[in-house]
Amino acid sequence: MAEARSGVQTLEPWNDPDAKPYIRIQNVSKKFGDFVAVNNVSLDIYQNELFCLLGGSGCGKSTLLRMLAGFENLTNGNIFIDGVDMVGIPPYDRPANMMFQSYALFPHMTVEGNIAFGLKQDRVPKTEINKRVKEMLDLVQLGPFAKRRPHQLSGGQRQRVALARALVKQPKVLLLDEPLGALDKKLREETQFELVNIQEGSGVTFIVVTHDQEEAMTLSTRIGVMDKGEIVQVGTPTEIYEYPDSRFVADFIGSVNMFEGRIIEDEADHVRIASDEAGCNLFIDHGLSTTPGAKVWVAVRPEKISLSREKPNGEENCTTGRVDEIAYLGNLSVYRVELESGKQMRVTMPNLVRDAAERITWDERVYATWQPSSGVVLTR
């Protein structure tokens, strides 16, 4: 048995054609009257993953999570958890637990009582309950607060009680709705790593809903980006950031410069794109398989562009403009450059030298260049 498992256990089960998905969402749709909240979503999530559903408000991510928990009925489709069809199974019989955005702690019970509640429903023996509650309290470092009521706790402590309460039943999947949304910035950053550690330690599969792309990047094994009820791209944080496959994803994750253009040359090892917006020809070092003349967009991340006062060699991937705005952030500076086409381009440069006099400044004419591998061609 153990040997059979170890064969499957790769670091990236989604790339393993033999791996069996643990949570399978098949063609799931949800309509509220005429409004389509979730539209034909299919998603495979593997055991031990920390999967993030990322999207703006109203994109359907929370509805999808609530369907997994059993609070919303499916209009269409199926959900399987560990091979069991979940349709028709009420929330109290599902092997999934949820951590609510508002934490939803029981105000009339102590911290201990809150954590023990789920185990009591399963008629777990009392000694066992006490043992597991204590383990949970230690895990989230709330031992000294066991006898307190929720209103006697700070926001961060309440968040950890909510996590412990959902985790104590060792569910097959833990659903977290904006788990860090109510914390202030500093606490949120600390808690992110704590959450990842707890997930790795518990071996429970986590599905996190968030609108915060930084949070999704830090936490997840994979991210599913949602827009208007649909999954637009699924991938690891690196894939999503470096290889977005649509303008929406490129624009939603981080900031990006988007140049509209037309393909003038599409060979096996390179593509050449004419772009009036960029003010130069764009050269990409891999082939596509599109028809010449097709309208495409090229996305270039601000940190992949470098600015210089002198004109560099080569005509491609090199444009010129005037520095319009500079934001000094300490470790790096953000430049807004107005190109000759009138388009604003965003460039971030690390502040390598300390002397401010040597840096590019307002209203200077600059040349912006990037590598042939930096641009991403997007067709939608």
């Binding site: 929330p91 109290y92 029981f106 209103h151 700070s154």
Partner: protein
């Protein structure tokens, strides 16, 4: 300037409180009057309290009133809670506003109409199914429940709308079936609303004269009915004594409740302050 304003404020306060409490105060003072004539002071005496204790008609009416009020309050809380819960948690459906309005209609309906319609209903029911047999304590209790439960429903509903629904969802999610969630999570959270609903129902039942007059029968006169009929024959000092006792009981209850609530609030504020101070 500030001097003058505070004089104005002071006199308003004095006048306002005098308006509210002088009648009650004079009633209490005259309850210790020696004279049989209510308005003529003839020296201090507690003899009317003694008369009151020996007046079986009043004592019996008081006992009936308390029994009715107690049973009424219990039923009203049970039914009103169910009504309020459904209104708050049923979700949206066609005609929801109409239903909400219909539940709260007894609050605005003139008592005379409520009393008359209930009387007609009871008579018709007796003719058709033989129950209730005649009018008495049972019919008064039922009549009181009909309007008390509307008050409870409103209180419970407004309390529930301020309770985060995800608390109940969390309990469901952790494995408790809906009925258990209602008893173990929802009810304890809205307990204060249930207590105030019970107390309100109890007092309103004790207080009611009009509806009880319509649906009462022989041998089921409530305290307000007895007092009212006595007053029509001229105010007796006994009534003053009775009123004084009632005022005393109510005042004690209100003050005690106030103190308890104030302490709870203070403790809660202190807890929250402490939790915030030791953040993390």
């Amino acid at each position: 300037m500030t001097q003058r304003r505070s004089m104005f404020l002071l006199s308003s306060v004095v006048f306002g409180f005098a308006f509210l409490y002088v009648p009650i105060l004079s009633l209490i003072i005259f309850s210790f009057n020696e004279s049989k004539l209510v308005t003529v002071w003839a020296g201090f005496s507690t003899k009317w309290y003694g008369e009151l204790i020996r007046n079986e008609q009043i004592l019996e009416a008081a006992w009936i009133s308390i029994r009715i009020a107690f049973v009424n309050a219990c039923f009203a809380v049970a039914l009103g809670t169910l009504a309020g819960f459904s209104l708050a948690r049923f979700g949206r459906f066609r005609g929801r506003t109409l239903f909400t309005g219909m539940v709260t209609a007894p609050l605005v309906m003139p008592e005379v109409i409520t009393g008359l319609s209930l009387l007609l209903l009871f008579v018709a029911m007796q003719d058709l199914i033989g129950w209730p047999e005649g009018r008495g304590v049972t019919t008064i209790t039922i009549a009181h429940i009909t309007f008390s439960m509307a008050y409870v429903a409103v209180i419970v509903q407004s309390r529930l709308t301020s309770v985060d629904e995800s608390v109940e969802e969390a309990a469901l999610d952790l494995g408790a079936p809906p009925a258990k969630v209602f008893f173990v999570i929802t009810l304890p959270i809205i307990a204060p609303a249930l207590i105030s609903g019970w107390l309100l129902s109890f007092t309103m039942s004790l207080d009611d004269l009009v509806i009880a007059s319509f649906v009462s029968g022989p041998g089921s006169s409530t305290l307000p009915m007895v007092v009212f009929s006595k007053v029509r024959l001229g105010v007796s000092p006994e009534i003053n004594a009775l009123a004084t006792i009632i005022v005393l009981v109510v005042a004690t209850g209100v003050i005690a409740a106030g103190i308890v609530m104030r302490n709870q609030e203070l403790r809660r504020a202190r807890d929250e302050h402490m939790a915030a101070a030791e953040n993390l």
